[in-house]
Symmetry: C2
Subunit: 232 residues, 2 copies
Amino acid sequence: MKTLLLISHPEIEDSGSQQYLLQSLPSSAAITVRHLDTLYSDGKIDREKEQAMLLAHDRILFQFPFYWYSTPSLLKKWQDEVLTEDFAYGKQKNLTGKEFGLVISVGIKETEYQAGGREGFTVNELVAPLRALANKLDMQYVKPLIIYQFHYLSERDRMRLLIKYQQYLTRQHPDSLKKREDWLVEQVQETNRTTISTEGWFILEQALSIVEDHRLAIDELAMLLDAEGEDY
Amino acid sequence: MKTLLLISHPEIEDSGSQQYLLQSLPSSAAITVRHLDTLYSDGKIDREKEQAMLLAHDRILFQFPFYWYSTPSLLKKWQDEVLTEDFAYGKQKNLTGKEFGLVISVGIKETEYQAGGREGFTVNELVAPLRALANKLDMQYVKPLIIYQFHYLSERDRMRLLIKYQQYLTRQHPDSLKKREDWLVEQVQETNRTTISTEGWFILEQALSIVEDHRLAIDELAMLLDAEGEDY
C-alpha cells in the first residue's frame, strides 16, 4: 500500500497544525509527500508528473486547511488540470479502486458545523464536491481525518491526533480493531530500541503482550460465536 | 440595484455558452462585468480593488463552469484573498444583506445530478460551500441559474435561457409575477423602436396591453380576497 500525500497550504510555515503534522510524518518508503505550493510556486502544474505520481500510488490523500469550506485554490487547480478526461474518467479510468482520503484542518469548533450552528453545514455536507469526485473516478472514499481548532488541543490530544494521523497515512482501510492492532505491533517492531529508555521499552512490551492476549481471547470468542467471517 | 457579475472561465473564448451569455448582456449602467481570467492573467488579484467593487454593488453574481463540482481555481483564489476577516466577516461584515447568486454552466444532464444518477449528488448539495459562504457573510443567497448542456439546447430554449439570464442579472429577488411584469414593461420601454419592424412593434404593444389588463384583473381579485399584502 503506497500513499501519496498531497499537501496544499499557501502559508505552511506559519501553520502550527501543518508543522506539527509534518514533523510527525513517518519516514517510510511507502509515503510520498508533495507540498504543492513549494513544487509549483509559479502556479504551473506539471500534469504528466502528477498523473505518473497518481498511477504509482494506491492511496491518494489531500491535506489542506479548510478555506471557504473547500480546498485552497492551488489544490483546486491541481484537480482541474490533473484529473482530466480519458485519464481519470471517460474512456480511461486510471484511478479506479484507489483510496481517496482527506486530512482537513478547520479553524472553527466542530459544534458550529451543523444546521443551527454558526457555519450552518456539516463538514460532510461541505466536502460534497470531493465525495462526488471520488464517485466519478470510482475511487474508494475514506472517512476524512478532520482536525478542529488545533491550537486549542491539549498536549495529550495532540499526541492522540498524531497517532490517528500516522494510522490514517499508513493503515489499510476500512478500519478494524484487528488492523489497528497489526499496525501497532508493526510500529513497535520498527521502532529503534536505542531511542527509548529501558523503562519505556518494558512498558511497550507489556502493552504488546496484553494486546496479543486480548486478540487470542477475541479470536476464541469469535470461533465460539461462529462469526469468523466478521471483521473484529 | 447594482449588479456585479464576476465571471471565471479559463477558456472563455472557446465556450459556446459563455459567449452566448456575454453577447446577450444588457448594456446597462447597473451591471458591472468582470472576467477574472482577463483581469488577472498572472493570478495576482487586486484585493483592494475587488473589495471596493463589492462595496459598490448590491448583488454579487459568480458566473462559472462547474469544474469538479465547484468554482474554477481563480474564482476560488478570489474568494480566499478578497473575502477576508474583518472585511467580509468578523469585526466588520461589509456584505451583509447584499444578494449572492450563481450562474453555473454544467456539461452533464440534469437527471444525473441526484442519488442514483451518475454524478450522485444534486447541484444544490454540491454548492454547499457557496451556500455556507453566503450564510457566513449574512448575504441573501439567491436561487442559482443553472445551465445544463448548453450545446444541446434548441434555438427556442436558448432564447428562453437568454431571457431568464437577463432577468437574473437585473430583476429584484425574490421573484414574483408582478416583478416579472414590471421587468418586461421596463425592457420594452427601453427598446429602440427603430430596431424592430412595425409588425413586431405592434405585437409587443398588444402583449404589453394584455399584461396590463391582466394585472388590473389580478389586483381587483386580490382586493376582493383582501390579500393585498401577498406578492402576486
